[in-house]
Amino acid sequence: MPNLQDLRRRVRAVKNMRQITKAMKMVSAARLRRAQERVTAARPYTNKMMQILGNAARRAPEYTDPLLSGHHRETETESILLVVVTADKGLCGGFNTNLTKAAQDFLRKNDHNRVELVMIGRKGFDFFRRRAAAIRREHLNITGSGKVKNEDVIKITGQLIADFMSEDKPVDTIYLLYNEFKSALSQRPVVERLLPIGRIDDGATEPAESGDYLYEQPPSEIYGQLLPKLVENQIYHALLESVASELGARMTAMESASKNATEVIDRLTLNMNRVRQAAITREIIEVVSGAEAQ
């Protein structure tokens, strides 16, 4: 039978833990709300860009760009970059595990191609570093503060586009893997193609009623300038979604951790009371049998 002192100590320890998990849950919930606001705040920019892009695309249909259509090389093995967006921190349930699993699935499916990884986030980087995967580059602590800086996005995108366009070792396709934010309770890893972009489709096929713009620069130039921005936007969006998912996952994980802690405390307290009661009973028996013996 465990002694009373140990049980008390354990109850206290679990209570402390519950306090921490509760606090983390609250913090995540508050940050999650802000992260969701950020996703909404990014929408006007995306809409505007798609609108201008769609317009420019219609005005310059003959414009070609490797970013749009790819390289058209005759090779047997494709060279692929997979950008994996994980969290920098743990304690968020299956968030990172789901991603690394999805990434491993992707690698398995593409084992006839040459796949290299670009890791965003420490957790995924640590995971694949230990497994001797081909990591081309890593970006750590980008999403650490729960914010996404445009500067970082521009840098990451610049490097990816440079990889894609590189003269001696061009990359054929770049995919993006991140956790999509479905709700605070559920996140789903998704794989999106980042480059080549493919055909621009903004939904509106008829020339917009304000169709005829005066172009200060030729439409094709504006088109070309906008394409990297489109990629930037996609990455930015993925990072925002990932941050929101991470916070959602952490909130849920901490919620159930707090619940579990409460259960453990209840069980330990019950146990503790039983032990205490047993001790009291034993003492009474001792006193009574001592009195009888006299």
Partner: protein, 136 residues
Amino acid sequence: MAEKIKLEVVTPERLVLSELVDEVVVPGLGGELGILPNHTALISQLKTGILTYRTGTEKRLMHVSGGFAEVLPDQVSVMSDVAERSEEIDLDRAQRALERAEKRIAQNGGDFDFDRAELKLQRAMIRIQLAAKGQG
């Protein structure tokens, strides 16, 4: 007929500004573009510079860097990588950034990212200009 222009400035991070104004001057790639209500529809690339807008007699300044401006008769939409109102600019930080950028350009030879440093330099200079104007 529109008598005012709806000026909207968006960056990837947020909607910076949405206001009804009388006149906008944007730093186009080929030079400054002054826009009054009922301007022809137009699209232009922007360079790092100062965007000015006027409501009545009140003139306000804003720092924008890169991106595009879309002009419609009653609306101007600016999408830029960076956009700050003059009162949001931290002068000290801009000054430090200026020094850093100057040093980097002075010290380094060929193999570093000259464009980036140059852009940083430009931004810092515009910010300082703006902050000086805003406070002076």
